[in-house]
Symmetry: C2
């Protein structure tokens, strides 16, 4: 039986980065992947395809230059699913091969097949070629998730689909029902709305993206409605049916009937733990297939760690990678530094949302005295050049110490821009940094300066006011 | 006679920011502008028009999506000067009005007319409405520059032009001669090359952009040649003539004759000091119209400061703004913090270049032991999604302390991306910051992490090597 220092199950972002971390530490690493291609759902069905589709949508629709050339400007008149898929295929293939070569370069042994535990340090790999059992001192579970199914929603892979089946749509529908106001549902709602599809978004909660800053989500809501998206908040789907003429109908618990040409079901994700035989290792998953871990990503069994989507929130590729790196680093006693409080969130809606640190709601709850500085893209030259009137950047800082507590951005480039604020926040900097720093002109980064001035001006007015009233 | 605490001459970036700084300190400020519109050449003929034209060129040519849709892909087939000018006019007008309202909001008195010194604290303003004299305790000269003229180059505003006259070209030429390999010449060379124009670039020095990192300039050269730009380095223009058939010919000192449909003369800029009567204030400019200042932007006359292009290098709008803020802040005894060593440089070539800190060449000369980490856009997911195979990001850090010494980027988004490195550099951070930080996925910012790993790996190999050889 082959022996490894580390066995990684799953080659998505968490598994891949964990495997490489092991290799960098000089460990013998096996990586088990059930698909033919490495990369997990991030590369093959999730992050990369959806972000690539988004770029194709933005380019072909001409959305970003419509403020300049007019609301009816299009780069391509009739956009088809094939137009979008063309670009996606290219990128998925390229990224898969980049990752494959990165794994080989690091001497990681890739085994294709289904993994299952035989005990806490042994894994069986089953493929067409047969069954092999290998031994590992440490085992990293990074099996990811898949779209959750519901008995109420008869997925047919054609008109009633989940987020893995976007490119199986026979054509771009005229009307699309999206069930689920989380990241995946909202991202696709945006893309289809920009393509001119009438989107109806159904969400059980009273608001979208519950973990994001309220002001930013409100702005997103404004833009979604502007793109003719209909919100059905506080609503729950009771049943979904396809009528003989092909119309898809969602019956809501409130007795409303919502109909469209297609329905995307994007409520929750389910851990890929079936067939893993977790019980053989002395482990169990919860009803959503999630595995519980501690702060170092160790399960209750000393030899087994778990990272990525299978451990739950936030289910972001960037965070999964870091979890993989930390879990394996710590498992082998390496020095690994990481601060989850400074992880950024990127949500590829249209416009894009990104943030780092705390929200106003969190700080209010924690009784931290903060002030807010806001800048609008339209106020700065780069915003005018881009014709972007939607972008906003908000800095939340401590009223007394001026330390940065959070940065929240909505607008194109948000997911890149947030890293400037993240650096200052991580290095314990203050809002004054932005006042005293020169930014390239004309760039969106100047929003930091504008927001800093805005926030500090509020502060001085308020302090004057206090002087007056005392 | 009206009395002001501060008189500012010129409403470009330096003057505008200086005036606002004065107003924020509660001073009475007059701003004299000779044009009808505020904003100086930055808004009216320089930075904003050229950066807007660049966006129009990138969009209409389809340059950025050609790696995806093919080298012959175009968004618009026949691009005209009007197509480009359309967007430029919009933005110039919008920015002018943003700035106008910003100045009014701050209670700054705008006077239109030509300014001239009568003595070190008095300025005469001459306009169609007559002459007014005003008094100022402090006077800030921010008159900017204009394209330098040469007796060898008979500018005709049609086929032989300077950089203020781009939109006066009757049409987009088939062949364009660009004289001058500085920022302005190279930026326009890139834009016209992307439009399919055959560009011949003539520069006296052996390389372009002498102040930028050699590796980055080399990469730019590679891409320019790839767009069929012909370089004539180490060459000087002896005379320029227009032939009867409209062909423009540049005769070089080396006896070569270079011909084209149009010629852009972009060698140097001349300070707008004529008519200022500097001598009345006890001041003088050098032969290129530049005014000498100290580190706080004070001239040899205590009441007079000068900022912006008129004081020479680097002639960047972003830096001029900061100079205006500092000059006025210090003149009125306010606390102003700024560190020119951390000013970023943004060069809007195609691909874009941006950097902060020192170059390899500078560090070698200073005997600082550094190491370099490189990342290529093509290695990271966002690069693949964009189809960008040209981008590179380079981090220079101290071998022993790991402190960031410089960040140099070529590739789309460079001028935004550099600010992340700038924050870490300014806050005295190390390359390890990038290893221990989570970046949104997929973003270009991940290049920092890739470059950091690359650099640190080199270091550890080298250290191993030292161990082996000792």
């Amino acid at each position: 039986m082959q022996h490894f220092d580390l066995i990684v199950i799953g080659s998505g972002p968490g598994g891949q980065r964990g495997a490489i971390q092991g290799a960098k530490l000089g460990k013998r690493v096996a990586l088990i992947e059930k698909r033919e291609a490495v990369g997990g759902s991030s590369i093959n069905t999730g992050t990369i395809p959806s972000k690539t589709m988004r770029e194709a949508v933005l380019h072909l629709s001409g959305y970003q230059v419509q403020p300049i050339y007019g609301m009816n400007y299009r780069v391509k008149d009739k956009i088809t699913i094939e137009d979008l898929f063309f670009r996606v295929q290219q990128v998925v293939r390229a990224e898969g091969s980049v990752m494959q070569s990165q794994l080989s370069r690091n001497g990681i042994e890739i085994m294709h097949g289904m993994a299952s535990f035989t005990d806490a340090t042994h894994v069986k790999v089953t493929s067409e070629r047969g069954v092999a059992e290998i031994e590992g001192d440490k085992i990293l579970v990074a099996v990811g998730t898949r779209p959750a199914a519901s008995s109420k929603v008869p997925i047919n892979g054609r008109t009633i689909i989940n987020s893995d089946q976007i490119f199986a749509l026979p054509k771009i529908p005229k009307t699309l029902i999206v069930v689920g106001g989380g990241v995946i549902g909202v991202e696709y709602a945006c893309m289809f709305a920009v393509l001119g599809v009438r989107v109806i978004l159904i969400e059980k909660q009273p608001r979208l993206l519950a973990f994001a800053d309220n002001e930013i989500v409100e702005a997103l809501g404004y833009h979604l409605r502007d793109s003719r998206v209909t919100f059905r908040l506080n609503e729950e789907v009771d049943s979904v049916e396809e009528l003989p003429d092909g119309t898809v109908v969602a019956n809501l618990k409130s007795k409303k009937r919502v109909s469209g040409d297609a329905l995307l079901y994007a409520v929750g994700r389910q851990g890929n733990v079936d067939g893993l035989d977790l019980a053989n290792a002395g482990l169990a998953a919860d009803d959503r297939g999630r595995i519980a871990v501690d702060l170092d990503y160790r399960t209750s069994v000393p030899s087994v760690m778990a990272v990525g989507d299978v451990i739950g929130f936030p289910q972001l590729a960037s965070v999964s990678m870091e979890q993989g790196r930390i879990a394996v680093g710590k498992a082998f006693g390496a020095m690994v530094v990481s601060n989850p409080a400074n992880y950024p969130y990127g949500i590829y809606t249209i416009p894009e949302i990104s943030f780092v640190g705390k929200t106003e709601e969190q700080l209010t709850q924690e009784d931290v005295p903060y002030e807010v500085g806001i800048a609008f893209y339209r106020e700065i030259a780069r915003g005018a050049i881009r014709g972007d009137s939607t972008g906003r950047l908000k800095i939340i800082f401590h009223r007394e110490t001026h330390h940065i507590m959070g940065v929240h951005i909505i607008g194109e480039g948000a997911s890149e821009l947030v890293h400037i604020g993240q650096a200052v926040l991580s290095m314990n900097g203050t809002v004054d940094y932005f006042v005293n720093t020169v930014f390239n002109y004309p760039t969106l980064a100047e929003c930091y300066k504008a927001a800093a001035f805005n926030g500090l001006n509020k502060l001085s007015k308020f302090e004057q006011l206090e002087e007056y009233t005392s």
